[in-house]
Amino acid sequence: MEFTTKSFRRVAVVSVSGRIDTSTSSELETKLQDLMDEGQKNIILDFSSVEFLSSSGLRVLVTTRKKIRNSGGDIVLANASQRATDSFEIAGLDKLFKSYPDREAAIGAF
């Protein structure tokens, strides 16, 4: 798993690539927590290059979503890969995360 972050006025875009599983999900959790600690209210996850997303990753996302929404922000998906989309759907979490077809649409929605 690798990620890069780009911060805008109202939102930060985190692009994640590779496998989000039990051996990498805590790294993602730390990254997202860091962004919140820096005062980022809103996060977009660019999951276009996610090749694997297990329940460990999903748990991190659900937990982060709860925290960020409690502080008045939101975390959404942009351009999610078929595999990431399938993981959300299989786990029954597809309705929990707003999902945008591309980064622009997601950035423009905040």
């Binding site: 694997f52 297990s54 329940s55 999903l58 748990r59 078929q82």
Partner: protein, 153 residues
């Protein structure tokens, strides 16, 4: 009927799960599954492995993950064996207290396995757990992998 068996054993470390997932992905493609079905199979395998490491063995690396894959035409049988204490994952988890806006963050692993696989069965033999997961190609007519090789002979 053509049939292929693959076996691979790795020490039960998180980092080794990827290797097993990749084996399942390749086997599913070999069985003629499309990529989404193949992904579903490796996802279920990953969940089963995560559970053995996180809940079965006392510590990471305390035992092995032994994966056996049986490939037949349009069907995959994935068997995961471990030497951790007995646990039966074939019991389908209940969804009752699921709130859409605030879903429980536990229980996703078993949910995924059961959602994705056609049949999940468990046996304990000789101090080992055997989890067997069956998947049949949901689109057998679309995936001509086996059919076309038959056609050629």
């Amino acid at each position: 009927m053509e049939m292929a068996n693959k076996r691979i054993s790795v020490p039960a470390f998180h980092q080794n799960i990827e290797t097993l997932c990749n084996k399942v992905q390749d086997a599913a493609v070999e069985a003629g599954f499309d990529d989404r079905t193949a992904y579903a199979c490796q996802l279920a395998t990953g969940e089963a492995c995560e559970n053995v490491i996180n809940h079965g063995y006392a510590n990471e690396g305390d035992g092995d993950l032994i994966l056996t894959i049986k490939i037949t035409q349009g069907q995959l049988i994935i068997e995961l064996c471990d030497t951790a204490p007995p646990f039966n994952p074939s019991i389908y988890p209940q969804d009752e207290d699921w709130e859409e806006e605030d879903p429980p963050i536990g229980g996703l692993g078993l949910k995924i396995i059961h959602k994705v696989m056609d049949k999940v069965s468990y046996t304990r033999r000789n101090g080992r757990n055997y989890l067997e997961m069956h998947k049949t190609d949901p689109y057998p007519h679309l995936n001509s992998h086996w059919n076309s090789s038959k056609g050629r002979t």
